[in-house]
C-alpha cells in the first residue's frame, strides 16, 4: 500500500477518535461545572477541560480566558483551533476523501455524513442543545467504528485505521485521567470528600465506565481503583493497558502481512511488557501525574516510530 494511503487512513482513525474524546471532555466539564461548590469550581472545571485537551498554550495565545462560553466554543467549533471537534471531523473527512477507494461505501458514508452534519447542526449556544450536539458527536464515532469493523476487509487498510484510533485513544485516556490532577479541590473541601468523590465519578461516567467499575470492584468509588481501572485493567477497553494491547496486535498483524518487524513493533511490545510488571500502588507511589506525563511522551515516541517505519 502507498505510504500516503496508510497515513491518511491512520489519521482518519486518529481524528475520529479525537473528536469523540473532545465530546467526552466537554461533557465532563458541563457536569463538573454544574456542581454546587464554593470559590469558582465552575471556572476550574472549564480550565481543566482545556488542560486535558492539551491545548492550554493555544487557548491562552488566542487571548481567551476560561469560561463556559469560550471553552465550549474553542473545543467544539473554533476555526482557529486545529483540534476542535469541527476541525477533527473535517480533517478526518479530508483524509478519507483522498483515499476514498480504500474505504467501504458504508465507512465513507459514515464519515461524509458526519461532515455534512457539522453544517446542519451549526453552533448550538443553549446548554441543552450543546449537550445534544455532544451526544451526536459520540454517535458519529460509534457509526464510524461500527462501519469499519463490520464492513472492512481485515487487511493493512483496516490495521492502519485502527492503529491510529488506538494510539489516539491511549493518549486521550491518559489525558482524561489527568483531568483530576488539574481539578484542584477548592479550599475547605477535603480529599475523599463529597466533591472529590463526584469528580472521580464524573471521570468514570465520561469513559462510560461507571457500571463497569461497580462490576469489577464492587465497592464505592476510590481514586486508586479508578486509576487501576483506567490504567491497568485489561477488561476495560479504554484502559491504557488495553489500548497498548490493541496497538501491539495491530502492529503484529501488519508485521505478519508484510513479513517484517521493525522498531514500532519492538517499542510497542516492550511497553506492553512493562504494563504487565507494574501495579497501581507503584504508580501512585511515584505519582500518577508523573506516570501519565511519561506515558504520553512514550506514546508520542511510538507514534513517531510508526510514522518512520510505514508512513514516509
Amino acid at each position: 500500500m502507498l505510504s500516503r494511503t496508510a497515513e491518511s487512513l491512520y489519521w482518519t482513525g486518529r481524528y475520529m477518535e479525537r473528536a469523540d474524546f473532545l465530546a467526552r471532555i466537554l461533557e465532563a466539564a458541563v457536569r463538573l461545572a454544574a456542581l454546587p461548590a464554593r470559590d469558582g469550581a465552575a471556572a476550574t472545571a472549564w480550565a481543566s477541560a482545556i488542560a486535558s485537551a492539551g491545548v492550554s498554550r493555544q487557548f491562552a495565545a488566542s487571548g481567551r480566558t476560561p469560561s463556559e462560553k469560550t471553552v465550549r466554543e474553542f473545543l467544539a467549533f473554533a476555526p482557529d483551533n486545529p483540534s476542535s471537534i469541527r476541525a477533527c471531523i473535517t480533517a478526518a473527512r479530508t483524509n478519507a476523501r483522498s483515499v476514498r477507494t480504500a474505504l467501504t461505501i458504508e465507512l465513507w458514508e459514515a464519515i461524509n455524513g458526519a461532515w455534512n452534519g457539522l453544517n446542519e447542526l451549526g453552533e448550538p449556544s443553549k446548554r441543552d442543545d450543546f449537550v445534544r450536539y455532544l451526544e451526536w458527536v459520540k454517535g458519529v464515532s460509534l457509526a464510524f467504528e461500527g462501519a469499519s469493523s463490520r464492513t472492512m476487509l481485515r487487511n493493512d487498510a483496516y490495521w492502519f485505521l485502527r492503529l491510529g484510533g488506538a494510539i489516539e485513544r491511549a493518549d486521550n485516556t491518559a489525558r482524561l485521567l489527568d483531568v483530576k490532577y488539574h481539578l484542584l479541590l477548592p479550599a475547605g473541601e477535603r480529599v475523599g470528600g463529597q466533591l472529590d468523590y463526584f469528580q472521580w465519578t464524573t471521570l468514570l461516567r465520561e469513559v462510560s465506565a461507571l457500571t463497569a467499575y461497580r462490576w469489577v470492584y464492587r465497592e464505592s468509588v476510590r481514586p486508586w481503583l479508578v486509576a487501576d481501572l483506567m490504567v491497568l485493567n485489561r477488561q476495560m477497553p479504554r484502559s491504557l493497558a488495553s489500548c497498548q494491547g490493541m496497538i501491539v496486535s495491530y502492529l503484529d498483524r501488519l508485521a505478519t502481512d508484510y513479513g517484517r518487524r521493525g522498531p514500532a513493533q519492538r517499542i510497542a511490545s516492550a511497553r506492553l511488557t512493562r504494563f504487565n510488571e507494574t501495579n497501581i500502588e507503584q504508580i501512585f507511589q511515584s505519582g500518577l501525574h508523573e506516570y501519565i506525563l511519561a506515558f504520553l511522551s512514550e506514546n508520542n515516541a511510538l507514534a513517531a516510530a510508526v510514522h518512520d517505519q510505514y508512513l514516509v
Partner: protein, 468 residues
C-alpha cells in the same frame, strides 16, 4: 426526432428507439432521468469547476436519450481514427526526430518550434515502440449525411472516458429492455485494453510484470473522480507527486513495505508541471528528477512528453496533409473546414463574415477564449475583431454549421434536437491501435448553444454503436 441540423428524418439507426419511445409512458424518461441523477450524486460521480466556490463538486448533467451510430458508419469512423492517430504518432516521432515533414514543406517550421507545447528536451528521443500518444481523444462532429469530421485532437491528457463507462452502466441499469432490443457493442472492455496498452508500452527494463501507476494532481483537480475511477478499474495505485521519488534515474513509489520501482506512469498532469527541476520550478504536484529518469529510458510516461505539439489548433489545420504524408493515403476522416487566420487571405475572409463563424484561440481549450459569432452581440463581435486583428496567428475560424444535433430530453419532458459532439478514445501501443466502440457524447443543453464542454454547463449521453 432529427439526426442532424436541418433534417427532419429519423436516422435509420434510431428507428427501434423511436418506436420504443412512442410506446413508452409519457413521463418515463423524466422519471429515469431523476433516478440517474440521484444515483450519480450518491456515487459522487462529480466534476470540479474551478473558481466555483459555492459547489466545487458538480454533477455533469446526464441525458437519458442515447446517441446511436450504425455499424457501417462506425466501422468507417474506426478506420479513420486508427489512420489519424497512427499518423499523429508518426508525426510526433518525425518532429522530434528526422523532421522530414518540415523539410518536405508539409508543416511550417515556425509552427512547430514556436509552439508552446514543443519540448526541445525531447529532440532525438524515442519512447518505447515509438508510441507518443498512448491515449488520444479525438473530438468528432457530424456535418451531414456523409459522416463525421474531426473538430479537435486531444493528445495530451484527454479526459471523459470514465463518463463513457459510467453512462453505459447507468443506461443498462435504467433501460434493460432497450438493450435487449438493440445489439450494442460493449465499451466495458476499454479498461482491459488500456491496461494491455500500458503494459505493452513499458520500458525493456521492466520485465514481465511492469508496475503501472496513475498519476493525479490530487483531489482538488477537476478530473480527480476520473483518475481514481481509472486506477480502480485498472487495479493499479493512484499516486500523487509526493508518493514518487527518483533515485539514480529510477522512479520509486513510497509504500508501507518500502520503495517499489515504477515502470509506467499514466500521468494526468501536464508536461510543465511534471518535474520542477526541468519545467516549472513552482510546481508542487510534480516529481523532482522524473525527466532525468525518463530520458534514461527507465520509465514510460503515458502520454509522452511533448505530444501537445500535435493537438495544437494551428497544427490541426495541417492534419489532412500530415495524414497524407505519413500514411500515403487520403484521410478517411476529414477536418472541419478551417481558416488559418495567420494567412492574410484567410484572415480577410474571416473578418468579412465574423458574425457567422466560430473563432478559436489556437492555445485555448474547454470552450474558453472563443467567439461563437451567431450567439454573440455586435459589441462582443467587435471586441473579438480587435483581438483577432492584433494577433491573427493566435486564431483559427470555422463555420458554425459544423455541429450536428441529437434528440435530447428537455425540462418540459419532450425531446428536442441539441448540438452534440463525440469523443472516441484511441489507444496506441507497440502492439497496435485500438478504439473502444463509441466514446463520450457531449451535448449542449441549451437550445441553440454550440458549447458542449462540461466546464461550461454541457451534459453527456451514452453512445451506442450498433452491431448490425
Amino acid at each position: 426526432m432529427s439526426g442532424h441540423a436541418g433534417s427532419d428524418q429519423v436516422r435509420h439507426s434510431y428507428r427501434t428507439l423511436a418506436r420504443w419511445l412512442e410506446a413508452a409512458p409519457a413521463d418515463l424518461l423524466q422519471a429515469r432521468s431523476r433516478q440517474a441523477e440521484l444515483f450519480f450524486r450518491r456515487m459522487g460521480v462529480t466534476f470540479a469547476v474551478y473558481g466555483d466556490v459555492e459547489s466545487n463538486e458538480r454533477l455533469i448533467p446526464f441525458d437519458v436519450v442515447p446517441r446511436i451510430i450504425g455499424a457501417a458508419e462506425w466501422d468507417q469512423v474506426e478506420r479513420g481514427l486508427k489512420q489519424r492517430v497512427s499518423a499523429i504518432n508518426a508525426f510526433l516521432k518525425d518532429i522530434y526526430g528526422a523532421q522530414e515533414c518540415i523539410k518536405a514543406g508539409i508543416v511550417p517550421a515556425e509552427l512547430i518550434f514556436t509552439n508552446p507545447h514543443y519540448r526541445p528536451e525531447m529532440q532525438g528521443r524515442r519512447p518505447p515502440g515509438d508510441i507518443w500518444t498512448h491515449i488520444c481523444g479525438v473530438d468528432l462532429v457530424r456535418t451531414g449525411e456523409d459522416g463525421f469530421v474531426v473538430l479537435e485532437d486531444n493528445c495530451r491528457t484527454p479526459s471523459g472516458v470514465s463518463y463513457m463507462l459510467e453512462n453505459r452502466e447507468m443506461m443498462m441499469r435504467l433501460f434493460p429492455d432497450l438493450f435487449a432490443e438493440h445489439r450494442i457493442r460493449p465499451v466495458e472492455t476499454y479498461t482491459d485494453m488500456l491496461l494491455a496498452s500500458l503494459r505493452a508500452s513499458a520500458p525493456d527494463s521492466a520485465g514481465a510484470d511492469p508496475n503501472i501507476v496513475v498519476l493525479t494532481p490530487g483531489p482538488f483537480n477537476s478530473a480527480y473522480y476520473e483518475h481514481s475511477f481509472l486506477a480502480d478499474k485498472l487495479g493499479v495505485e493512484l499516486v500523487e507527486g509526493g508518493d514518487l521519488f527518483v533515485n539514480d534515474d529510477i522512479v520509486f513509489m513510497r509504500t508501507t513495505e518500502g520503495p517499489r520501482r515504477v515502470d509506467v506512469i499514466y500521468r494526468r498532469i501536464d508536461d510543465e508541471f511534471i518535474d520542477p527541476l526541468t519545467f516549472r520550478p513552482d510546481s508542487a504536484v510534480g516529481i523532482p528528477g522524473l525527466m532525468s529518469a525518463y530520458m534514461a529510458g527507465n520509465v514510460t510516461l503515458s502520454n509522452a512528453i511533448g505530444t501537445g505539439v500535435a493537438d495544437d489548433k494551428a497544427v490541426y489545420t495541417y492534419m489532412p496533409e500530415i495524414i497524407r504524408f505519413f500514411s500515403g493515403g487520403d484521410p478517411i476522416l476529414g477536418n472541419v473546414p478551417t481558416w488559418r487566420c495567420r494567412e492574410p487571405e484567410a484572415l480577410k475572409e474571416v473578418l468579412a463574415k465574423l458574425p457567422e463563424l466560430v473563432v478559436k484561440e489556437v492555445g485555448g481549450s474547454g470552450g474558453y477564449g472563443m467567439l461563437v459569432g451567431p450567439a454573440s452581440s455586435t459589441a462582443e463581435i467587435e471586441a473579438f475583431r480587435a483581438k483577432l486583428i492584433a494577433d491573427p496567428d493566435d486564431f483559427i475560424a470555422q463555420p458554425t454549421l459544423a455541429l450536428s444535433t441529437a434528440p435530447t430530453l428537455c425540462p418540459d419532458g419532450g425531446l428536442s434536437p441539441r448540438h452534440v459532439d463525440l469523443r472516441p478514445f484511441v489507444l496506441s501501443s507497440p502492439a497496435g491501435v485500438r478504439v473502444a466502440p463509441g466514446g463520450l457524447t457531449r451535448v449542449a443543453l441549451k437550445a441553440g448553444s454550440l458549447v458542449v464542454n462540461s466546464s461550461q454547463g454541457g451534459g453527456t449521453k451514452d453512445t451506442w454503436v450498433l452491431d448490425d
